[in-house]
Amino acid sequence: MILSFDIIILIFLIVAAIISLNVKDLLSSAMIFGIYGFLICLLWAEMGAVDVAFTEATVGAGVSTVLFIATILNTRRRSSD
């Protein structure tokens, strides 16, 4: 664990979370959510939880984003907030 690295990723995480929740275009929002997933995966790796990082990379950043995009393409892309 490297504390400065830790702090930087955590701040990026908060930024990514806020942006992905506030973008009105859901497809962009889903992509930024994918970025959030990869940042958090990086964080797990940095904290020594490699198995969790691996799972997060495949599940959180990969499959979740694909599922979001599949749903958004089948419903509506714009959101009111």
Binding site: V50, D51, F54, T55, T58, V63, V66, A70
Partner: protein
């Protein structure tokens, strides 16, 4: 009530409760914290036990795998059941057999920028990538004992390779390789393998999931290697279920339950 005001109140109250609890936490990264080395009055720390003894018990160097698949294997079995249940719930919600809802579901028109040339490039790349992804996924499943990885990660990657086929070509291609019948059967089979490794020791007179006694069947030298091999079997079961369900969820979501057309 305006949801924003309600949300703010709920968030502030929860935040205060959580921060109140944080105040007396051990310092971040402290190896002597209760979680990392136990407290007085309780049983010896499980964490230290796993680090010190699990290699002797199971001969698996990756502690996460040995804890996941053996000591807490019961959890992992139900985690697989959760995935299976989610898959079934999604089929129950979305799947509509033979009912063509023409009004709502029309095969989405392909993007105009996405001409034939792009499809050839994407298709060829995919054709090269998919076998590599699958081989790597199998490696991840099999090598989970020695390096990060295991049934879940490998299973999700295998599922993702089929999702890749569906995304690059179309869903029918992917379903031609991995049909509805086969993913249902494989998903059930995966849990059956896992639970089977649990029931076999019961037949041999030990408790559920007590792999050590399987040395009689697996013909290993000593219960440790029997545990190690059984964990591999269990991981394969997990991988099968996760692979099938991940692909099935995508197939149902992308085609709104018709399993035709796709994205």
């Amino acid at each position: 009530m305006n949801p924003k005001i309600f949300a703010s109140i709920a968030v502030v109250i929860t935040g205060i409760v959580l921060l109140y609890g944080i105040a007396d936490f051990p310092t971040f990264g402290d190896p002597r914290s209760p979680a990392n080395s136990g407290v007085e009055g309780g049983a010896p720390s499980t964490s230290l036990y796993y680090i010190n003894e699990s290699y002797g018990d199971t001969k698996v160097p990756n502690l996460v795998t040995s804890v996941l698949a053996d000591y807490r294997g019961y959890d992992t079995m139900f985690e697989t059941v959760v995935v299976f249940a989610a898959g079934i719930a999604i089929f129950a919600i979305l799947r509509c057999v033979g009912k063509d809802d023409g009004a709502v579901i029309s095969a989405p028109t392909k993007n105009s920028i996405d001409g034939d040339h792009n499809r050839i490039i994407v298709g060829m790349t995919c054709r090269i990538a998919v076998p590599v992804v699958q081989i790597f996924a199998l490696y991840v499943v099999a090598h989970g004992h020695h390096s990060p990885g295991g049934g879940f990660q490998g299973g999700v990657m295998l599922g993702a390779s089929f999702i890749l086929i569906a995304l690059a070509g179309n869903l029918d291609d992917a379903l031609g390789r991995f049909s509805e019948k086969s993913y249902m059967a494989l998903a059930s089979l995966g849990i059956l393998i896992y639970a089977g490794f649990g029931v076999l020791p019961q037949v041999l007179g030990k408790n559920f999931l007590d792999y050590g006694v399987l040395q009689k069947i697996l013909l290993t030298d000593g219960p440790e290697m029997a545990r190690s091999h059984s964990m591999l079997g269990v991981e394969i079961g997990v991988a099968l279920t996760v692979m099938s369900i991940m692909f099935a969820i995508f197939a149902n979501l992308s085609s709104r339950g018709t399993l035709k057309g796709g994205l």
